[in-house]
Amino acid sequence: MTDAHGTDEALLVAEGLGKSYGRLTACQDISFSLYPGEVLAIVGESGSGKTTLLQLLSAQLAPTSGRVSYRMRDGVLRDLASLGEAERRFLFRTDWGYVHQDPAQGLRMAVSAGANVGERLMAVGWKHYGRIRQTASSWLERVEIDTARIDDAPRTYSGGMRQRLQIARNLVTEPRLVFMDEPTGGLDVSVQARLLDLMRNLVSELGLAAIVVTHDLAVARLLSHRVMVMKGGRVIETGLTDQVLDDPHEPYTQLLVSSILPP
């Protein structure tokens, strides 16, 4: 990856973040800062707490301990827990994107592709039908979906197309931060490569910050600047992506890296 625009003000800050369900600890003691334009990968096997962490960071779950702060568009760093419902909705509609592993969770499967993209624009106050349709159409092109399919519902789309449509729906409002949960999971390898290449370009062109949860180290290597390795709910190793993958220090990270089949 080439681009991490050097700003000195963090966009998102996690401090001593933890979540437990009764006696079960899903994640604990997680602290880091994410800067504008920076892509962070969270890797680890299933059950390591990655998805819980992503939900905490995106205010979908309330932490048991610690806090997450986000720099709002006015430049003020605010504790997510202190935001009102309207402010939180505003974040979700405009400043943030959330790409689910299963596109059916992030799309409305029965309405047209154009409406899926246009809906986010209407939510931020766009009213002119022609402009909404034109913007939706140009985003479909950007994610390499034939615009002749704009009036078709995503349930008629292939898995790879659905995932690209979900990305278009998320990026159309020009968010500053995108959360992605296993964005390439469940896709064919050939489809994955195309999607990864597309995401990589969009992230660097738009200067997006992103937090990507993945169990696939190849995804982390291609997309992220920085990586956090999780095990048993804790971050056990963190650093520059190529450094952690080429010179892993922790036993578990070495195991993950050595488990990759050579290309």
């Binding site: 080439t2 290449d197 291609l222 600047h225 190529d242 010179d247 220090h249």
Partner: protein, 232 residues
């Protein structure tokens, strides 16, 4: 003369946890400096730690101890203790690395693979492509291949694409890991000429070359890596 790289007592070992925690010493007590406009060649048998030292300077391998100062935007920065975002910024505007192997991203056309480091430093895409084209011609990659992704190219062609990518930008520090290995004589001479141009532009370089003739032509100084052997 400006010191661009200053390595003080750097050391590196690997602990292989999957092999029962075996500790593999690589180098220790690494000390040398590289000035602007100078090419230092690392010598020593294979396994002596030459590539590891290059990777430590690039921030790809972490140091166990010591410091590696690289002059970045006029200020020496210690790579060994820099944060990831600082290292990324140093790589964007100060240190380039030319490895033997191209790590190509699927689907990206060759011309853009080569132009990318320039674009990252803020130069317009068209100007960057033009320069990329000139370098690719120099390195005898025919124009009909420029629009294709390099993943389908032969090993030698990929290596030359990688060299073009490494030499395109105006970074003040370049690390060269066997840039001429497996090139034919004509292309080897092109690379020697490129290195010479970089020297005249004041670029500080650290290189690994096995070919004696090439070493003789590019080296201003040879650093023997076996003196940093970290025998257990």
């Amino acid at each position: 003369m400006t010191t661009m790289i200053d390595i003080i007592d750097a050391q590196k070992s690997f602990t292989m946890h999957l092999q029962g925690g075996v500790r593999l010493p690589v180098v220790r007590g690494v000390c040398f400096q590289v000035n602007a406009g100078e090419c230092v060649v690392l010598s020593g048998p294979s396994g002596a730690g030459k590539s590891s030292i290059l990777k430590m300077i690039f921030g790809n391998y972490r140091c166990d101890g010591g410091s590696i100062f690289v002059r970045h935007e006029g200020v020496p920065q210690n790579i060994a203790t820099s944060e990831p975002r600082q290292i990324l910024s140093i790589r964007r505007s100060t240190i380039g690395y030319v490895s033997q192997f191209l790590r190509a991203v699927p689907r990206v056309p060759t011309i853009d693979v080569v132009a990318e480091p320039l674009v990252a430093t803020g130069i317009g895409r068209d100007a960057a492509r033009e320069r990329a084209g000139r370098l690719l011609s120099c390195l005898n990659i025919p124009e009909r291949l420029w629009r294709l992704p390099p993943s389908t190219f032969s090993g030698g062609e990929q290596q030359r694409v990688n060299i073009a990518r490494g030499f395109i930008s105006d970074l003040p520090v370049l690390l060269l890991d066997e840039p001429t290995a497996s090139l034919d004589a004509a292309n080897r001479d092109v690379v020697i000429r490129l290195i010479d141009e970089k020297k005249r532009a004041g670029v500080a370089m650290v290189a690994i070359v096995h070919d004696d003739e090439v070493r003789h032509m590019i080296a201003d100084r040879v650093v023997d890596v076996t003196t940093f052997a970290a025998a257990a």
